[in-house]
């Protein structure tokens, strides 16, 4: 006997609600509301016209649930703009929540005395539950797991393997439930429900824990990559500068032999051109000197004036790469902000290092164009978009500062940006 039933629609609604708990924060496709409306409409339609059997059949049940799951997943793919595997993964999470809720409801409501009352008004009871109980469970699921989707950006960092594991887990969990015959003692219902609920929770915890780990790993690896890039760049830059410096000195020496043989003016201008690198300030710290020398051409050309005051030798305890990353970052940023200022007279950067016993205090100040909120990308601590490299400036600087038992702070006041770094200098001797 075949008949159509409201219970199919209710099941569909429950599944969609639960899936949305996890997909809520995911990037949406254009005309999302329209797409979602169509999806929900279509799914409900398909569920209503899905034939109902009057007798219980294991394979029918199994097929029904998975068919529903698949069409909602397809609908979600239509609505959200993330990878298919990610959608399926999150839909499975939703499915796990729905199944958990269903099993819990059996525990609560299948009490023999309650059961009799419910069976008389099965459809009505189901509607009430779908409207109240299921949303409540979904809300709880959102606060426990759903929020994490945004926090750890699961839709970009998921893993195919874990998705497959999650899917298998869920199919097993829900599939096995179907084997339970209808007329078993209430105690069997309790036992199987508890097993199912535990299984669902377990699947969710494992899924989200793995997600979190992957996210942290990928962020750490990105920062490490940038660090290594800085390391290579530093070696290259230093080697170049050293070579050029030596050549310049050679030329200067040879030029002095030409005194008297070339007009003085010419000789002087040649000497000046060649002593370009000598005019760069020597901070007492090799890395800082390298950074500043590296930027000399650009600064000369764009009229950016950097002044430095402090004992560069104090910074020797910082490893070359860390120093290059930290200060290179700070100076790069100050220079980029300066370039965006129209008035060339305002392109000044102030760099100071002060000591208070075991602690060093570094300040980098510059003007910035307040019309362009340049610092948005630089200061954000999470990945901005797929390209992902924005915003690591401050974060990677903070990691380095923390490494030396210090910290970073910044402030934007009117049109002045101030970066404050403090570090602990080990082996302090008075």
């Amino acid at each position: 006997m075949i008949s159509f039933s409201v219970s199919n629609i209710l099941l569909m609604i429950q599944i969609i609600m639960a899936e949305l708990v996890f997909l809520y924060h995911c990037p949406k496709r254009k005309k999302f509301i329209l797409r979602l409306a169509c999806t929900i409409g279509l799914c409900i339609l398909l569920s209503y016209f899905f034939p109902m059997l009057n007798y219980r059949n294991v394979f029918y049940d199994f097929f029904r649930f998975n068919y529903f799951f698949l069409i909602t997943a397809a609908g979600m793919i239509f609505c959200f703009n993330i990878k298919i595997f990610a959608i399926i993964s999150l839909c499975v999470s939703g499915y796990a929540v729905q199944h958990f809720a269903h099993r819990l409801s059996i525990l609560i409501f299948m009490n023999p005395s309650v059961y009799i009352v419910l069976m008389k008004n099965y459809d009505f009871a189901s509607v009430v539950l779908t409207a109240t109980y299921y949303p409540l469970i979904n809300l709880a699921a959102y606060f426990i797991f759903g929020r994490l989707v945004k926090k750890y950006e699961y839709y970009t960092t998921f893993d195919k393997l874990q998705s497959i594991i999650a899917i298998i887990l869920m199919l097993v969990c829900t599939g096995i439930s179907r084997f339970i015959p209808q007329n078993v003692p209430y105690s069997v219902w309790i036992a199987t429900s508890l097993y199912a609920m535990t299984c669902c929770i377990f699947a969710l915890i494992v899924q989200f824990y793995i997600y979190r780990k992957k996210y942290l790993e990928s962020e750490a690896s990105m920062i490490k990559q940038l660090w290594l890039k800085d390391k290579d760049q530093y070696s290259l830059t230093k080697a170049n500068i050293d070579t050029i410096n030596i050549k310049c000195h050679d030329i200067k020496y040879k030029l002095s032999a030409y005194k008297g043989r070339l007009p003085d003016e010419e000789l002087d201008s040649l000497q000046m051109a060649v002593s370009f690198y000598d005019s760069v300030i020597k901070t007492g710290n090799e890395v800082l000197d390298t950074i500043l020398t590296e930027k000399t051409f650009l600064c000369e050309k764009e009229n950016i004036n950097i002044t430095f005051m402090g004992d560069g030798k104090l910074l020797e305890f910082i490893s070359a790469v860390d120093a290059y990353s930290l200060f290179g970052n700070a100076i790069d940023n100050a220079i980029e902000a300066s370039l965006k200022i129209e008035d060339k007279e305002k392109r000044v950067i102030n760099f100071t290092v002060e000591q208070r016993g075991e602690f060093l205090f570094i300040t980098v100040m510059n003007y910035f164009n307040s019309e362009i909120n340049y610092y948005n990308g630089y200061l954000k601590s999470t990945k901005d978009d797929e390209k992902g490299y924005h915003g690591f400036g401050i974060k990677s600087m903070q990691i380095i500062a923390n490494k030396y038992a210090g910290n970073i702070d910044y402030s934007q006041e009117q049109n002045i940006f101030t970066l404050s770094i403090w570090l602990h200098k080990p082996d302090y001797n008075k």
Binding site: M309, D311, R356, E358, M365, S411, Y428
Partner: protein, 239 residues
């Protein structure tokens, strides 16, 4: 705000003075400028009367760096800014605890940036005399002269450059009274409120403030260092 300029070349002193006047107008503050042509004149007449001193490095007889060293012997905390033709000459200004230096010819914007930082560390422009009710009567002291405060039981002691004064009060009340000047103070410990200007060193979990050594507690260490960092950078804001 009281500024001293020690510069042998009149024209240069004039330029610096103009920058100060421009800054004064743009930032709505009051500056009095006293100029000296010779460092010896300045040092001879020195009586803690200035907030910021500009020293030209390239001067005949006593040059700026030497003069600053002599100044430090009598005043460890006054703000010093060097003025020089060559940046390299002033880098070692840290040795005399100079806050910064300006390169000639003076670029107003560069000057303004540095001066702002110096000014922020002084909290100038704010009327901040504190009236202390001691057992023997009232004492009026400028907040700038408070080195640190400590609380013992119901009594707060003001350690100032003009002596120590005790008042029956709570640290919390005093913090409120310091009001706008508060950004220059930070707690290194539950019972010590330190004027960051007088912090000379932090070593072995102790902070040397003026001539006193105060313990820095573990729970206050991070916030103290953060406040100190902001103070030094000139980006501290009142709370």
């Amino acid at each position: 705000m009281r500024i001293a300029i020690v510069e042998d070349i009149d024209a240069e002193a004039e330029i610096l003075s103009d920058c100060l006047k421009k800054f004064e107008k743009e930032n709505n503050i009051e500056i009095t400028i006293t100029a000296f042509k010779k460092a010896t004149d300045f040092l001879g007449a020195y009586n803690n009367d200035y907030d910021i001193v500009f020293f030209d490095i390239e001067m005949p007889d006593l040059d700026g760096m030497q003069a600053a060293k002599k100044l430090r012997k009598i005043d460890k905390f006054v703000t010093i800014i060097f003025v020089t033709k060559m940046a390299q000459a002033a880098i070692e200004g840290y040795e005399v605890g100079a806050i910064d230096f300006v390169v000639k010819p003076v670029n107003y914007n560069s000057f303004a940036l540095k001066f702002k930082r110096a000014m922020s560390r002084l909290s100038v422009g704010i009327e901040n005399d504190v009236l202390i009710k001691t057992e023997t009567g009232f004492v009026r002291v400028s907040s700038a002269r408070i080195i640190f405060l400590d609380v013992l039981g119901h009594y707060v002691t003001f350690h100032t450059t003009e002596g120590d004064f005790t008042e029956q009060n709570t640290l919390k009340n005093i913090e409120n009274r310091l009001a706008e000047y508060q950004k220059n103070f930070a707690k290194c410990n539950r019972c010590y409120l330190v004027n960051l200007k007088f912090v000379r060193s932090i070593e072995n979990n102790e902070v040397i403030v003026g001539d006193h050594k105060l313990p820095v507690s573990r729970s206050y260490k991070k916030s103290f260092l953060t406040r100190l960092s902001k103070y030094i950078s000139g980006s501290a804001k009142g709370e």
